[in-house]
Protein backbone atom coordinates (compact mmCIF):
# COMPACT_ATOMS: atom_id res chain seq x y z
CA UNK A 1 0.00 0.00 0.00
CA UNK A 2 1.67 3.22 -1.14
CA UNK A 3 2.04 6.22 1.15
CA UNK A 4 0.29 8.34 -1.48
CA UNK A 5 -2.76 6.04 -1.49
CA UNK A 6 -2.86 6.11 2.34
CA UNK A 7 -2.70 9.91 2.27
CA UNK A 8 -5.57 10.02 -0.25
CA UNK A 9 -7.70 7.80 1.96
CA UNK A 10 -6.92 10.05 4.94
CA UNK A 11 -7.98 13.16 2.96
CA UNK A 12 -11.13 11.42 1.67
CA UNK A 13 -12.03 10.37 5.22
CA UNK A 14 -11.65 13.95 6.53
CA UNK A 15 -13.42 15.63 3.60
CA UNK A 16 -16.36 13.21 3.87
CA UNK A 17 -16.35 13.75 7.67
CA UNK A 18 -16.82 17.49 7.13
CA UNK A 19 -19.67 16.90 4.65
CA UNK A 20 -21.23 14.35 7.01
CA UNK A 21 -20.98 16.70 10.00
CA UNK A 22 -23.35 19.06 8.20
CA UNK A 23 -25.59 16.22 6.92
CA UNK A 24 -25.86 14.54 10.34
CA UNK A 25 -26.83 17.77 12.13
CA UNK A 26 -29.63 18.29 9.55
CA UNK A 27 -30.58 14.58 9.80
CA UNK A 28 -30.72 14.58 13.63
CA UNK A 29 -32.88 17.72 13.63
CA UNK A 30 -35.17 16.16 10.97
CA UNK A 31 -35.43 12.88 12.95
CA UNK A 32 -36.34 14.65 16.19
CA UNK A 33 -38.94 16.86 14.44
CA UNK A 34 -40.32 14.00 12.28
CA UNK A 35 -40.93 11.52 15.10
CA UNK A 36 -43.05 13.97 17.11
CA UNK A 37 -46.52 12.45 17.23
CA UNK A 38 -45.42 9.28 15.43
CA UNK A 39 -43.77 8.51 12.11
CA UNK A 40 -45.93 7.85 9.03
CA UNK A 41 -45.09 7.06 5.42
CA UNK A 42 -47.43 9.85 4.26
CA UNK A 43 -45.56 12.37 6.41
CA UNK A 44 -42.13 11.27 5.12
CA UNK A 45 -43.18 11.17 1.47
CA UNK A 46 -45.01 14.53 1.69
CA UNK A 47 -41.70 16.08 2.69
CA UNK A 48 -39.45 14.27 0.22
CA UNK A 49 -41.44 13.39 -2.95
CA UNK A 50 -40.60 15.68 -5.85
CA UNK A 51 -38.14 17.67 -3.74
CA UNK A 52 -34.92 18.31 -5.66
CA UNK A 53 -33.40 19.82 -2.51
CA UNK A 54 -34.04 16.75 -0.32
CA UNK A 55 -33.01 14.50 -3.22
CA UNK A 56 -29.68 16.29 -3.63
CA UNK A 57 -29.16 16.37 0.14
CA UNK A 58 -29.79 12.64 0.64
CA UNK A 59 -27.79 11.64 -2.48
CA UNK A 60 -24.80 13.64 -1.16
CA UNK A 61 -25.34 12.10 2.31
CA UNK A 62 -25.39 8.56 0.84
CA UNK A 63 -22.22 8.97 -1.27
CA UNK A 64 -20.32 10.63 1.61
CA UNK A 65 -21.37 7.96 4.13
CA UNK A 66 -20.51 5.14 1.70
CA UNK A 67 -16.95 6.48 1.24
CA UNK A 68 -16.54 7.34 4.93
CA UNK A 69 -17.93 4.02 6.16
CA UNK A 70 -15.84 2.02 3.70
CA UNK A 71 -12.59 3.70 4.72
CA UNK A 72 -13.46 3.34 8.43
CA UNK A 73 -14.26 -0.38 8.06
CA UNK A 74 -11.02 -0.88 6.09
CA UNK A 75 -9.04 0.55 9.02
CA UNK A 76 -10.90 -1.70 11.47
CA UNK A 77 -10.36 -4.72 9.19
CA UNK A 78 -6.61 -4.06 9.19
CA UNK A 79 -6.20 -3.11 12.86
CA UNK A 80 -8.63 -5.47 14.60
CA UNK A 81 -9.08 -8.36 12.17
CA UNK A 82 -5.57 -8.50 10.68
CA UNK A 83 -7.06 -8.59 7.18
CA UNK A 84 -4.19 -6.84 5.39
CA UNK A 85 -4.84 -6.02 1.73
CA UNK A 86 -8.12 -7.93 1.71
CA UNK A 87 -9.58 -5.22 3.97
CA UNK A 88 -9.36 -2.74 1.09
CA UNK A 89 -11.32 -4.99 -1.27
CA UNK A 90 -13.96 -5.77 1.35
CA UNK A 91 -14.27 -2.05 2.14
CA UNK A 92 -14.62 -1.18 -1.56
CA UNK A 93 -17.40 -3.77 -1.86
CA UNK A 94 -19.13 -2.34 1.24
CA UNK A 95 -18.85 1.20 -0.16
CA UNK A 96 -20.24 0.19 -3.55
CA UNK A 97 -23.12 -1.71 -1.88
CA UNK A 98 -23.96 1.27 0.34
CA UNK A 99 -24.03 3.58 -2.71
CA UNK A 100 -26.40 1.25 -4.59
CA UNK A 101 -28.70 0.56 -1.60
CA UNK A 102 -28.62 4.19 -0.46
CA UNK A 103 -29.35 5.77 -3.84
CA UNK A 104 -32.14 3.22 -4.37
CA UNK A 105 -33.67 4.41 -1.07
CA UNK A 106 -33.28 8.06 -2.15
CA UNK A 107 -35.07 7.34 -5.44
CA UNK A 108 -37.81 5.51 -3.49
CA UNK A 109 -38.65 8.49 -1.29
CA UNK A 110 -37.95 11.34 -3.74
CA UNK A 111 -39.04 10.16 -7.21
Amino acid sequence: MSARFQARLWVAQRVTAMILAFCVVVHLATIILAVRGGLTAAEILARTQGSMAWGAFYATFVVAVAIHGGIGLRTIGIEWLGMGRAAGWVAALVSASLVVLGLRAVVAVVA
Partner: protein, 111 residues
Protein backbone atom coordinates in the same frame (compact mmCIF):
# COMPACT_ATOMS: atom_id res chain seq x y z
CA UNK B 1 -7.23 -1.47 33.65
CA UNK B 2 -4.05 -0.23 32.02
CA UNK B 3 -3.04 3.41 32.22
CA UNK B 4 -3.58 3.81 28.45
CA UNK B 5 -7.20 2.69 28.71
CA UNK B 6 -7.94 4.73 31.80
CA UNK B 7 -7.76 7.91 29.77
CA UNK B 8 -10.54 10.04 28.23
CA UNK B 9 -8.85 10.01 24.81
CA UNK B 10 -8.88 6.17 24.74
CA UNK B 11 -12.60 6.11 25.59
CA UNK B 12 -13.30 8.78 22.97
CA UNK B 13 -11.46 6.64 20.38
CA UNK B 14 -13.28 3.45 21.42
CA UNK B 15 -16.74 5.08 21.46
CA UNK B 16 -16.04 6.55 18.01
CA UNK B 17 -15.01 3.17 16.61
CA UNK B 18 -17.85 1.13 18.18
CA UNK B 19 -20.54 3.66 17.18
CA UNK B 20 -19.06 3.72 13.65
CA UNK B 21 -19.39 -0.08 13.36
CA UNK B 22 -22.97 0.04 14.73
CA UNK B 23 -23.98 2.74 12.24
CA UNK B 24 -22.36 0.89 9.30
CA UNK B 25 -24.25 -2.30 10.25
CA UNK B 26 -27.53 -0.39 10.58
CA UNK B 27 -27.35 1.46 7.24
CA UNK B 28 -28.30 -1.45 4.91
CA UNK B 29 -31.43 -2.11 7.02
CA UNK B 30 -32.27 1.61 7.01
CA UNK B 31 -31.92 1.81 3.21
CA UNK B 32 -33.87 -1.43 2.72
CA UNK B 33 -36.80 -0.11 4.78
CA UNK B 34 -36.91 3.23 2.93
CA UNK B 35 -36.63 1.50 -0.47
CA UNK B 36 -39.96 -0.23 0.23
CA UNK B 37 -41.52 3.09 -0.87
CA UNK B 38 -40.71 1.88 -4.41
CA UNK B 39 -43.70 -0.47 -3.95
CA UNK B 40 -45.91 2.40 -2.81
CA UNK B 41 -46.74 4.37 0.33
CA UNK B 42 -48.63 1.44 1.89
CA UNK B 43 -45.54 -0.80 1.75
CA UNK B 44 -43.44 1.82 3.56
CA UNK B 45 -46.23 2.43 6.07
CA UNK B 46 -46.42 -1.31 6.74
CA UNK B 47 -42.70 -1.44 7.61
CA UNK B 48 -42.93 1.71 9.73
CA UNK B 49 -45.74 0.10 11.80
CA UNK B 50 -43.33 -2.78 12.49
CA UNK B 51 -40.85 -0.26 13.98
CA UNK B 52 -43.35 0.73 16.68
CA UNK B 53 -42.40 -2.23 18.90
CA UNK B 54 -40.77 -1.18 22.17
CA UNK B 55 -37.54 -3.08 21.43
CA UNK B 56 -37.22 -1.48 18.00
CA UNK B 57 -37.83 1.97 19.50
CA UNK B 58 -35.14 1.25 22.11
CA UNK B 59 -32.81 0.25 19.26
CA UNK B 60 -33.62 3.49 17.41
CA UNK B 61 -32.89 5.45 20.58
CA UNK B 62 -29.47 3.79 20.86
CA UNK B 63 -28.79 4.48 17.16
CA UNK B 64 -29.65 8.18 17.55
CA UNK B 65 -27.24 8.35 20.51
CA UNK B 66 -24.63 6.46 18.45
CA UNK B 67 -25.07 8.89 15.53
CA UNK B 68 -24.80 11.94 17.81
CA UNK B 69 -21.78 10.42 19.61
CA UNK B 70 -20.06 9.59 16.31
CA UNK B 71 -20.72 13.12 15.05
CA UNK B 72 -19.42 14.71 18.25
CA UNK B 73 -16.40 12.35 18.36
CA UNK B 74 -15.68 13.11 14.70
CA UNK B 75 -15.80 16.86 15.31
CA UNK B 76 -13.39 16.26 18.18
CA UNK B 77 -10.97 14.42 15.86
CA UNK B 78 -11.21 17.18 13.23
CA UNK B 79 -10.64 19.84 15.89
CA UNK B 80 -7.59 18.00 17.26
CA UNK B 81 -6.13 17.50 13.78
CA UNK B 82 -6.89 20.87 12.22
CA UNK B 83 -6.98 23.28 15.17
CA UNK B 84 -4.30 24.00 17.78
CA UNK B 85 -6.52 22.80 20.65
CA UNK B 86 -4.64 19.83 22.09
CA UNK B 87 -4.98 20.92 25.70
CA UNK B 88 -8.73 20.91 25.31
CA UNK B 89 -9.07 17.17 24.75
CA UNK B 90 -10.97 16.44 27.94
CA UNK B 91 -13.32 19.36 27.41
CA UNK B 92 -13.99 18.27 23.84
CA UNK B 93 -14.60 14.67 24.90
CA UNK B 94 -17.01 15.85 27.59
CA UNK B 95 -18.83 18.10 25.12
CA UNK B 96 -19.05 15.18 22.67
CA UNK B 97 -20.59 12.92 25.32
CA UNK B 98 -22.97 15.66 26.43
CA UNK B 99 -24.15 16.34 22.89
CA UNK B 100 -24.76 12.64 22.22
CA UNK B 101 -26.79 12.25 25.41
CA UNK B 102 -28.82 15.41 24.70
CA UNK B 103 -29.70 14.23 21.17
CA UNK B 104 -30.69 10.80 22.49
CA UNK B 105 -32.88 12.28 25.21
CA UNK B 106 -34.52 14.67 22.75
CA UNK B 107 -35.37 11.69 20.51
CA UNK B 108 -36.66 9.64 23.46
CA UNK B 109 -38.89 12.48 24.63
CA UNK B 110 -40.21 13.25 21.15
CA UNK B 111 -40.95 9.63 20.06
Amino acid sequence: MSVARNHPAWWAFMVHRVTGIALALFLPAHFWLLASALEGEAALENKLRWTEQPLVIAGEWLLVIALAAHLAGGLRVLALEFLPWRDWQKTLAALAAGFALAAGLAFALAR
